[in-house]
Symmetry: C2
């Protein structure tokens, strides 16, 4: 009778933990969860039963725990909220990584969907807009730590102008340097220029927000270049080599 699809904050934590443990070790036992969440084994049993009842996990006592389709979707959603918050704290508010993570943990359960989307848009906007950018955030960070400006507004704004000139020049001369997605390095961010290929193949790609103009962060390329893990609009996406083949990007 417990509402079938609603997760409490604590159940979200369990689900998130399960998701991460699967990602790390490919198998989940109650023990791992208890350790990670710092709760007793008995509490884990209770949570697992609740999650199974809500069809989030496959759970038979003494057997390995796996996520159902629903469970995986829900887990990814929680993880995404966490990542988006953390990203914002780190990239925009210039909060130290560890603090950002702690704060994201606390806040991930209560942030509404619409705000999540805005956070994503905003981080992307700041990283992309010539009036924003790394330098601008550094200026903010400096002001937070030292209580004053790092440089005069004149020189600061001047660098905006320079930035725009550089970009315009490139654009005018059709000299935007275009790369293949697969040639990027982990950690690099780039903007999508073109997605080649027939509709069916990259329907999934486009649905996840990998459309021309959007910003992608490369997370990992597996040994033989397959698969390629990227992050778009806060979603993690794993692309097969041939899917990534047809994606052109520019560095930002």
């Amino acid at each position: 009778m417990t509402s079938a699809d609603t997760l409490t904050a604590s159940l979200e934590d369990y689900l998130e933990a399960i998701f991460h443990i699967i990602a790390e070790k490919h198998a989940v036992k109650p023990r791992d969860i208890a350790k990670r969440l710092k709760v007793s084994y008995a509490s884990v049993t209770g949570a697992l039963r609740a999650l199974a009842e809500k069809r989030m996990i496959h759970y038979t006592p003494y057997d390995l725990i796996t996520l159902t389709e629903t469970g995986e979707t829900a887990a990814k959603d929680v993880v995404r909220r966490h990542e988006v918050l953390k990203d914002f704290f780190v990239e925009v508010l210039a909060v130290p990584d560890a603090d950002a993570d702690t704060a994201a943990c606390l806040m991930e359960h209560s942030i509404p969907k619409a705000i999540v989307e805005r956070f994503i848009e905003f981080v992307e906007f700041v990283e992309t807009c010539p009036r924003g950018g790394d330098k601008w955030i550094k200026g903010f960070s400096y002001q937070c730590d030292h209580g004053g400006k790092q440089e005069s507004c004149e020189t600061c704004v001047a660098s905006c102008v320079a930035e725009v000139r550089k970009r315009t020049k490139k654009g005018d001369e059709k000299a935007v340097v275009s790369y293949k997605l697969k040639n990027m390095k982990p950690g690099q961010k780039c903007r999508i220029l073109k997605v080649r290929g027939r509709g069916e193949t990259n329907k999934r790609i486009l649905e996840m927000g990998m459309t021309p103009g959007s910003v992608v962060e490369l997370e990992r390329i597996a040994p033989l270049g397959d698969p390629i893990d990227v992050k778009v609009k806060g979603y993690h996406l794993s692309l097969r080599k041939d899917e990534a083949e047809g994606i052109d990007v520019e560095l930002i």
Copy 2:
């Protein structure tokens, strides 16, 4: 035995409600709280007992409810977190007022102190920095709603340059227009230039963050100009006429 000074999310909600009802009607009855929080009367009784036990309110059955010193401090802290979040959502993320309020309600209980302070700094930074400002946020808002740029980066950045020129000119010629705080209108924001007066009188003012350079928003001026309510660094502050007398500001 219930930890004496820690408030649960739900108790924070009750405290916040009590604070607001006092501000509105000068007297609180369980009824008002129940209506505001949409809970049963019985639940209110339980919460009031818990709050009284934690020395947050004065509570005798059938009598009016008032906040203790501790309670008022705690209530103001919750309200501040709410306001800071809402402010950020509205001023930076360009979220509609009502949505921002709802989201702030949900998130106010889990946001860590350090992040609150960063949010304040950031809103102030955006509103103050020539690379940020109203126009910049409007650009972001437009991009969220329409999925494209409102204007070219060139013209956009050009307006930054113009803004800085305007400011520099003023500054160079000592032509910063200085106003008295008391002459501002509700809703206006300004930056503090000078706080006159002997140490004791405005110790409180300075402690609350009303130092030269910080941004103040005027909230309300009572009929005879006393008191003047302002918001600084997310804190609400009520100034007596004579305290406000010695504060010079410039418009931003």
